[in-house]
Symmetry: C2
Subunit: 353 residues, 2 copies
Amino acid sequence: MPQLFSFDLITRIGSVLFEATGAPADQARLVAEELATSSAMGHDSHGAIRIPEYIERVARGAIIPGAKFQVERTTGGTAIVDCGHNYGAVGAHFAMATAIELARQHKVACVVTRRCNHVGRVGAYVQRAAGDGLIAIATCSSPIHGHFVLPWGGTQGRLGTNPIAYAVPTGGDPIVADISTCVAPEGKIRVYKNQGKAVPEGWIVDARGRATTDPAAFYGPPLGAILPLGGPAGHKGYALGLLVEILGSSLAGLAATDPTVAGNGLCFLVVDPEAFCPIESFRSLVDATVAYIKSSNPGDGGGEVLVPGEIEFRTRRRRLVEGIPVDDPTWQAILQSARDLQVDLEPLLTTRR
Amino acid sequence: MPQLFSFDLITRIGSVLFEATGAPADQARLVAEELATSSAMGHDSHGAIRIPEYIERVARGAIIPGAKFQVERTTGGTAIVDCGHNYGAVGAHFAMATAIELARQHKVACVVTRRCNHVGRVGAYVQRAAGDGLIAIATCSSPIHGHFVLPWGGTQGRLGTNPIAYAVPTGGDPIVADISTCVAPEGKIRVYKNQGKAVPEGWIVDARGRATTDPAAFYGPPLGAILPLGGPAGHKGYALGLLVEILGSSLAGLAATDPTVAGNGLCFLVVDPEAFCPIESFRSLVDATVAYIKSSNPGDGGGEVLVPGEIEFRTRRRRLVEGIPVDDPTWQAILQSARDLQVDLEPLLTTRR
């Protein structure tokens, strides 16, 4: 049975642990807040569960706490940001801050990253831009060891799950979409495997490219692959995944196959709607579009037409009141990380609600 | 049995007919060349078949040949282009030329259109940018009468087929993707209906939102709807389609439901890769990525791993030699258009190769 934690407590636990890895206080807090937010919004796979994982990555040398990050090159509305292998959220937020600043100047910006670690929920960064009244699109590629996804017509993975995220300001919560360009992320297949269950049809193939529902046939060895988004129209998901790869590696001057590349390759495209029409008009037009979309009858099945991000904002409102569930294996791993780092969490826990 | 025409002949027939509608010679030729190119690349549904359709649209007053088009507003790397209801290809090429110029200055550009007619193959415009060494992404929305596609969870169409196209320069032919964000465009369903065949499962629903394979249940009345891209992960296609709608209408200052809006709402995002790394390095990195993608074994089924656009460029090379097939109904409609416009096509046809 998962325990319930407050947003604040998860943030403070994460902060103190990341600080103990050598991260400056503000950076430790940024990463912790990002993970607590993912948990609050219901993306548990990108939330508190990553606290011990990130600490383990520091131990392996993959994450360099406090590493210098900087704008490496900037021309017009574009920039390359070198994240220096700092925590992914630190680099990604710096890259988005750079994109926002460039979008203010040039009304449209394009920023790509190098040496950026695992960024967590990509939606977080576009959501921030929408909070500033901007439209943002983000793509996020993975290095070669994460290439689980088939190119259309092939039998061996050549692309990451390659999410595309975007956010648009409205009169209320922004629209925030964050979708992988494959059928399902590898993490979900792992869950089925751990539960000894078959995955739904149309998700995976074995190492010879034959359709299967057996997660063991995917994990091999030899490794199988995940199908691109689209089912019979999987050439479309493949096309989108390829774009994400090119924007995340080639545009950053990196080879898709470079085994020394780690973490995520981000590309942020940010547009200032104010350049096109007054921001209040834009918000009203988006609100009217959302109302129109929602006027589509949900039909016999009941249910509701939602816009991307709506479930997550509802979940956040509820969990900020009711608490955020953290499962026991995650909590035990966090406690183990604290012991490894010789951090005493007791003072935080005794003040817990 | 379709007749075979040369690229040049289709272009000249289209040019003379569009000129007869009042289009200036250069604009008539641009539109005709665009349609001939679509036919040559195998996109027959966006090719010569549209010559009589466009002429009919002129007769209805939807297309205004020779109408003034202009940059309505420009700030930083952005612009709104008013296409003045000229032929769609004329407005769209002007919008892309504007985006290319802005991308040269600011290294990234975002251009949206107003009053743009049917643009044909969206891939054409991004392909042009890639020919200039630029990366381009295009989205294309439709007005309310083309809202055939379901929002996820709804039973009534609220979005167009809303394609996303992109092009990336390589060392050879560019990568050119052009995909709708739904399972299949309305035109394909019409083909099944005309042939009295059932459409594949997972394409359409009837007016009550119930899955069907009967095209008649889609056309109604009452009208059914097309499912978004993604099958069981159709929330992803829906999220992409919604982005296309917002970029095509809200960002251009237009309401999604405005019944007076006609034609397509384009958004072009253009990035100059030279701002990130030398263009020759970029081309080499993309070429290496393509080679890596193609190294995925096609498996027992045989076949081949292709990159987006590859089939189209092959088809073009073949059809430029062998001729471009034009089916008889299309040819008869073209001849009828010529009679309506009192244009004698004989001089063109007698010199035909």
